[in-house]
């Protein structure tokens, strides 16, 4: 299940979406997420979903990859759906003992689930079509203006680069530790919550130790490769705004207008 998380995985390709400046894609994704919370009716979601699938089509990323990210968070979506379904007051549609489903609750639960699904697909398109290094370079450039007020933009970007690089490594490590502990008879699947929590300790401790080991090794390797902070560094692929980014900006404005208009339908 751990392996199914697509967030932070890059799908190599040369599509128009891949070629966009990472900054454009980051801003577009943020705007999209905000707009998802502006939407309040069926038409808005239709526009939002259509826009998303248009982007997916252009990006040529197989749907299989995109939906794999969803399966990992399926439980969260289902939980949110149920919570909304039973917790909202209004016109009663169905009632049994202490459980009540209202029309408002059903609508709210449905919208919230759609919102989450679109949000997750939207952000996985960002990471699927943007190389990790471009993503973090883009972030660094976007945060640059804030370094005047003391925000360490280069360090934040580097931290993200390293985190993205080591997520798979740490996951493999976790798998290995779990298997090793299971081979010794550890049981992670039964018992109450407290018992299960306690059972996690033999996983977390070795994981912590190996994270420190990795950090130590990596710091040494970076120093050996002349890393000395962000100043004076160059980039193999400088990111640049191109014509495609202007087109994307126009489309973003149109989309925003559509979303706002949808509220008045």
């Amino acid at each position: 299940m751990i392996r199914d998380i697509t967030l932070g995985q890059y799908y190599p390709g040369g599509s128009a979406v891949h070629r966009l400046d990472a900054r454009t894609k980051i801003i577009a994704t943020l705007l999209y997420i905000i707009e998802l919370f502006v939407v309040n009716n069926f038409y808005g979601f239709l526009i939002a979903a259509a826009a998303l699938f248009a982007v997916i089509a252009v990006s040529k990323v197989p749907l299989k990859f995109i939906f794999r990210g969803l399966t990992a968070v399926f439980l969260i979506i289902a939980f949110t759906f149920l919570l909304n379904l039973f917790m909202v007051d209004g016109r009663v549609l169905w009632h049994w003992k202490f459980l009540t489903i209202t029309y408002e609750g059903l609508m709210r639960a449905f919208f919230m689930a759609v919102r989450l699904v679109l949000l997750i697909i939207g952000s996985s398109i960002l990471t699927l079509t943007t190389k990790p290094i471009e993503l973090t370079d883009g972030l660094e450039k976007l945060l640059k203006p804030f370094s005047k007020i003391g925000l360490p933009s280069h360090e934040i970007a580097l931290m993200m680069t390293i985190a993205l690089r080591f997520i798979p490594t740490l996951m493999e490590e976790t798998d290995k530790i779990i298997k090793a502990q299971q081979a010794r008879g550890a049981d992670f699947e039964s018992g109450n919550i407290i018992q299960r929590g306690k059972n996690l300790i033999p996983i977390l401790v070795p994981l912590f130790v190996s994270s420190f080991r990795i950090a130590q090794d990596l710091a040494l390797a970076m120093e050996a490769r002349c890393y000395r902070g962000g100043s004076g560094r160059t980039r193999m692929n400088e990111i640049h705004f191109r014509r495609g980014d202007a087109v994307a900006a126009v489309l973003m404005v149109l989309f925003l207008a559509g979303i706002i208009a949808s509220r008045f339908i």
Binding site: K131, P132, I133, R165, D217, A221, A224, R225, T234, M236
Partner: protein
């Protein structure tokens, strides 16, 4: 060129090197701890291929870190191409000349994508983007990983990751690369690949220092340095070292497999390398 005799052919000069780690005592004060190296003097010639061997804990990795200023001598000195590693103002001169490849293939790649990782070193040096591109492509071709340049690092095998790490060092265009047990965590096929790259690089003029606990690897070097408990035990050619069983035992090492076979089969001791032995057997 009448002045040739003054030319310095030693790329690295180590004199009376001592490394003492500090530790924190009960009161939280820093006190002297483990002495990892003591009184080590040696020279590494430009273009040579030197192996460093010794038991676990004998100070090999500590010595490796002294070659590019990752560790600064407690006493004595290390000079790289004339630059003292203890001099803060020239430390980047030293590090850009001496590349490093470490043991664990997983823990030394910084970026998720192969080519971006190889670019990390030249980017740190402030090299021009077009030139970085050239160096990265060239380095990846030299280690046979050019076709995988867009791959995710976590999709590679251990041997492939190690080759990417070597490309990362090559892309900085160093004069010398120090390999600290680069094959220890690899399978036999990965090991062979890394060894053949090291020999190619050396043939191309890069000074190579290989720390290893595989004697058949040490056997392929021009010279073998043996460490024991932080001291230099001996510094000889592989042929000299591996004809001296007593020295090998004293260092706590093993004979290369080929030499072992030679002695068990009672073949002449004049055969000193695996190739010579193989040829002799084939001829009989």
């Amino acid at each position: 060129m009448g002045l040739c005799y003054t030319q310095n052919v030693n790329f690295i000069e180590v004199r009376d090197l001592k490394i003492e780690f500090t530790k924190i005592d009960e009161n939280g004060a820093e006190v002297p701890g483990k002495v990892a190296l003591n009184g080590v003097s040696l020279d590494i010639e430009k273009g040579s291929f030197v192996a460093v061997v010794g038991m676990n804990g004998s100070g090999k990795s500590t010595l490796a870190k002294c070659f590019n200023g990752l560790l600064i001598p407690t006493a004595g000195s290390v000079k790289v191409d004339g630059f003292d590693t203890a001099d803060d103002s020239t430390i980047w001169e030293v590090r850009s000349r001496v590349g490093m490849v470490f043991q664990n293939p997983d823990n030394q790649l910084v970026s998720s994508i192969v080519e971006d990782d190889v670019a990390f070193g030249p980017e740190n040096l402030g090299v021009d983007p077009a030139e970085i591109r050239r160096r990265v492509d060239d380095a990846l071709k030299r280690v046979g990983m050019y076709e995988k340049k867009d791959r995710g690092a976590h999709m590679l095998s251990g041997g492939q990751k190690q080759r990417v790490a070597i490309a990362g060092a090559i892309a900085m265009r160093p004069d010398c690369i120090v390999f600290d047990e680069p094959t220890a965590m690899l399978d036999p096929k990965g090991r062979e690949g890394v060894m053949s790259i090291i020999k190619d690089l050396n043939a191309g003029g890069i000074t190579c220092i290989l720390i290893t606990h595989f004697m058949n690897e040490a056997e392929q070097a021009d010279r073998v340095i043996v460490l024991k408990k932080g001291k230099l035990l001996c510094d000889r050619t592989p042929a000299e070292l591996f004809s001296d069983r007593e020295m090998i035992e004293r260092a706590g090492l093993e004979m290369p497999p080929a030499i072992d076979i030679r002695d068990k089969a009672g073949l002449p001791e004049s055969l000193t390398t695996a190739d010579e032995i193989a040829e002799y057997i084939a001829a009989v």
